[in-house]
Each structure stands twice: as structure tokens, then as C-alpha cells.
Symmetry: C2
Subunit: 207 residues, 2 copies
């Protein structure tokens, strides 16, 4: 039943944290009509397509990569394993850390880190490093999710993004995993149906 799904989506609002607190990435709600003046209430939203919980399309980091037009979100739905990095002092989720878990070919790997406990944007956020991305690619995982707004951190050439997106492994960023324990789940990820873009805001659940 849908009411038993655990929601792992960030809430979208004007106050939500955005990547590096950049002004151009802040969400705006624009009220265009209200009850006093118009007899009804109506608003628009302006938001970065990488704000909150979202899926990166290959185009985001690969020149000529696919955009969202033909994206089949079955690619980000299925059996998953949540691995818990939140007890680690260091910030880089690497091959050594990931190799402790029984990750299977075809799994969606969801990485829980200290980020899920931060209400503001931490410039020193936990991230998946190049060795971890290569390890997951070699295992043949289906998709990778993390509770960071960026899956890597200021890495020249974006090797983590490119290793994953270049091999058909979609990335889900901005998950909210504070209430989730490690273990095996089903991951349900329903993106907005926007054509022609490089990022899709999404609602995500574990069950």
C-alpha cells in the first residue's frame, strides 16, 4: 500500500538548501493571484532542476549525452540496497567502504551519509569518489542514489558522474535518508515528466 512507502524526498520550498547556497539555484514561489484581489489563489514556481531530490540525465555532465525526452524511469526503480556511511568521520565514499557490502549486479545502491542530518548546505559534504564510482560500475549496478545535492565534490573532469552516466547508470541526488536504516528495500522513484532537460525533480520512496 502506498501509505506504507517511506518518503525519502526533500521538501521543496523557498527555504530549502541549495547546492553551494548559490542565489541562482534558490527556489522562488511567485503568487500571481490571491483571494482578496482575485477571488482565488494561484502561483508559479521557479526552481533549479537540480534542487532537492532529482535525477541527473547524461546530458548534465556528458557533451551530447541524452536528455530527459526518452527517459524511462524504470531505470531508477527496482531492488535496492541502502548502505550507511553516516558513522564515518571522513567524507569520501570509496571502493574500500563499498566493498564491505553485498551489492548485487542490477541493484540500485542508495548511499546514506552525514548529509541527511544537515539542515543547511555543508561545503564539505560527503560524496562518492572516483574509486567508488568505478567499483559500482564494475559490479553492474542499475542506479546510484545519495543524500548529497552533488554526488561528487569539486572533482576536475567529474569522473564520478562520467563513470556512472557514461555507462547507463543514472544518478539520484538530494535524497533525505535521516530516518532510513541500512538494508535491502524496493526503491520507487517517480520523476516529473519534463522533456528536453538534463535534470528531473523526483519523488522517491523505499518500501
Amino acid at each position: 500500500m502506498i501509505k506504507e512507502w517511506k518518503d525519502v524526498t526533500m521538501t521543496i520550498s523557498e527555504n530549502m538548501m541549495v547546492y553551494k547556497n548559490k542565489e541562482e539555484k534558490k527556489t522562488k514561489i511567485i503568487t500571481r493571484a490571491n483571494h482578496i484581489d482575485n477571488g482565488h489563489h494561484e502561483s508559479s514556481i521557479f526552481m533549479d532542476l537540480h534542487a532537492g531530490t532529482h535525477i541527473d540525465m547524461p546530458l548534465h555532465m556528458i557533451d551530447g549525452g541524452e536528455d530527459s525526452t526518452n527517459f524511462d524511469f524504470v531505470a531508477v526503480n527496482g531492488l535496492c540496497i541502502v548502505v550507511d556511511f553516516s558513522g564515518e568521520v571522513r567524507a569520501e565514499v570509496d571502493e574500500q567502504f563499498l566493498s564491505q557490502f553485498e551489492i548485487k549486479k542490477g541493484d540500485i545502491v542508495i548511499i546514506k551519509t552525514k548529509n541527511s542530518y544537515s539542515e543547511t548546505f555543508d561545503l564539505n559534504y560527503d560524496y562518492l569518489d572516483a574509486s567508488g564510482a568505478m567499483y559500482l560500475k564494475n559490479l553492474g549496478v542499475k542506479a546510484v542514489g545519495i543524500d548529497a545535492l552533488g554526488i561528487e565534490r569539486s572533482a576536475p573532469g567529474h569522473p564520478t558522474h562520467k563513470t556512472l552516466l557514461g555507462n547507463g547508470i543514472y544518478i539520484i541526488e538530494g535524497l533525505e535518508l535521516s530516518k532510513i536504516e541500512s538494508g535491502r528495500y524496493e526503491f520507487i522513484c517517480i520523476p516529473m515528466k519534463i522533456s528536453g532537460v538534463e535534470g528531473l525533480p523526483a519523488r522517491a520512496f523505499l518500501k
Copy 2:
């Protein structure tokens, strides 16, 4: 399986139809970074919260009504009946039409009309009239969906919206039902998780 769900969501793009073709309701994709200049591709979206497939919160039409902050989308998920009005010449879905069907208490009623076959906005769109809304309210339905961008059409005082939203019956507008036959289904409707607003863009499915 998720891949067998029938998607009944409108695609969001700059070219999508919007209510009454109003300029302020048109979707804009703003590209903020591209591969040639920045080494990656990044964009933002500006959209009316009532563009495409979306759920109306009570605040949309009721002064002091609830906004999306505490919305539990279980209210728009569950057993449903699709009724097909698309063969009718007239535009108003009324009590007389609806009374032909075996609509049950607690059903989500999805109204398919000629709107699903129109690629451009038709000012004379099919809509649910006040008698139809009252009939569904009296039956005790759970929610009402339609393939119009507005569930009523230029009705003074918005009786259809108020009869439904004022009685805890949420409204889903902008469904895309061209490939759907009448009958009983399960309706799955996953909105964006935005707080404090009167409309929630959503992805919707029948299975």
C-alpha cells in the same frame, strides 16, 4: 510492476498547452550552463503550478483553505473508475451523465472527455458542471480527476471547485487519457513535494 503502469501525465515543455493560452502560465526552461562555455549543462524551470497534470489544494479556490504543507497524497490514490464522456457532443459533464455509471462511495472518479484528443487549448473545453460535482459529493467519492486544465469553465463563484474542495474531495486536472478505456482501475498519483502552495504538479498512472 511499475513498467506496466499506464502513464496519464501530460508532458511538461515550453510548447505544452496552458490554460487559456495565457502568457504568464507558459513554461520556460532557462539554461544556465552549457558544455561549450561551462563544461556541463544545467537549467532551471519556471512553471505555473497548474500547468499540465496537477492537484488543486483547497486554498486554490477557498479563502483560508488548506495549502499543500500537510497534504497526504493517499487522498488521491486508490480504486478508481474511468467514465468516458468523449463521445458526447455537449461539453458539460452533469449529474445525468454520471448517473449512468456504478460509481461507489470512496471511488476516485476519472472523467475522460474530448479534451484528451486536443493538442491545443480549446476555449470550449469539456468540464464538470455544478450538478455533476454535487452528485459526486453526495455519493461520497474520494477524489475527482479530469483531462481539462480546469475542472469547470468560467462559472461565477466556482461551484464545482468549492463543492469538491470544500468537502475534502481533491481535484486532479490536466490528465492525458487519450489511450485509456472506461472501466475500473487503480489510480496512482505522485505529486511534487512542495510546501505552502495551492497546486501540486503530479505524475499520474492507471493500473
